[in-house]
């Protein structure tokens, strides 16, 4: 399953976003194939949460990993990410990368997040959202 997963990565709005995109794409390649269009993805890795909501509406099926960087757990970004998890419990999981800055080593925590994600996927149902 992991080899066939199609992964779309979009990290925006932070200092170092370009670098983080490249690193997370590398992580994404560990679990699947990077695709250029969110509509083609099985898994979308995205930050910030407001962008994640847009991705959820661009693709009705994909699972979405919302990445919260740099200790924003209690900040608005953390609140928004957890809100999406609550709103889309069958599709969204939130991964926290607690570190002080956009260093490539920080996001090497992402494989652990993806591990948690895989576990989550096994447990989810396919109940639809929205009307």
């Amino acid at each position: 399953m992991a080899e066939k997963r199609r992964v779309f990565v979009s990290i925006t709005g932070n200092e170092g976003s370009d670098l983080l995109n490249k690193v997370i794409e590398t992580v994404g390649e560990m679990v699947g194939k990077i695709v250029d269009n969110p509509d083609d993805a099985d898994l979308i890795i995205v930050s910030p949460a407001t962008a994640a909501l847009r991705m959820l509406k661009e693709n009705d099926e994909a699972k979405v990993l919302v990445v919260v960087f740099f200790g924003w757990f209690n900040d608005s970004e953390g609140i928004a990410a957890r809100a999406l998890r609550k709103s889309y419990p069958d599709r969204v999981v939130v991964g926290y990368v607690v570190s002080p800055g956009p260093d490539p080593e920080d996001v090497m925590l992402v494989p652990y997040i993806l591990g948690a994600y895989d576990k989550q996927v096994e447990e989810v149902t396919s109940e639809d959202h929205s009307g």
Binding site: D39, A49, T50, L53, R54, L56, K57, E58, N59, D60, S76, I79, A80, R82, A83, L84, K86, S87, Y88, H129, S130, G131
Partner: protein, 150 residues
């Protein structure tokens, strides 16, 4: 005709764009209400609006703790119909594909189903959607027909 189509489900938007474009209409589709509102506020003029009822709450005007509502389904189709009517769209259909047995806002649609409402000179219908037999996507061609019957 130039049609604004607003629905958070990609499946519905794709089907609506395909069917309505094939029928010769110009379709501008949005996945959320903020983009739709901004389009009309920015000067785009539409003949018809075809709207979903329940859509996820967006970040517009939310901050701090209120972001806890992000993504929760809200019955924004009612409000969007009113503001688009106020901004000059003359024919508007709000169509939900959610069963009235499964959501209170969809149950409220029973109050309006089949009736034409005048809002600021616009003809508005709020109703349960028909679904395509092919893929169970919302049938926006049918919704446009309902808009033009008014």
């Amino acid at each position: 005709m130039k049609i604004i189509l607003v629905d958070d489900k990609n499946k519905n938007r794709k089907a609506g764009i395909k069917d309505l474009t094939a029928a010769g209409h110009e379709v501008i589709a949005f996945s959320g209400y903020e983009d739709a509102y901004n389009s009309v506020r920015g000067g785009e003029v539409y003949d018809v609006a075809l709207l979903d009822l329940l859509m996820p709450a967006e970040g517009m005007m939310l901050g701090g703790e209120s972001l806890q509502f992000l993504g929760q389904p809200i019955d924004v189709g009612f409000s969007l119909a009113m503001i688009l009517a106020f901004m000059g769209v003359k024919r508007i259909v709000v169509a939900t594909d959610l069963s009235h047995h499964h959501h209170p806002s969809s149950a409220i649609v029973d109050w309006f189903d089949g009736k034409m409402i005048d809002i600021c000179g616009a003809k508005v219908r709020i109703m349960h959607a028909h679904l395509s037999r092919e893929n169970e996507a919302k049938d926006f061609s049918w919704a446009l027909g309902e808009a033009m019957r008014m």
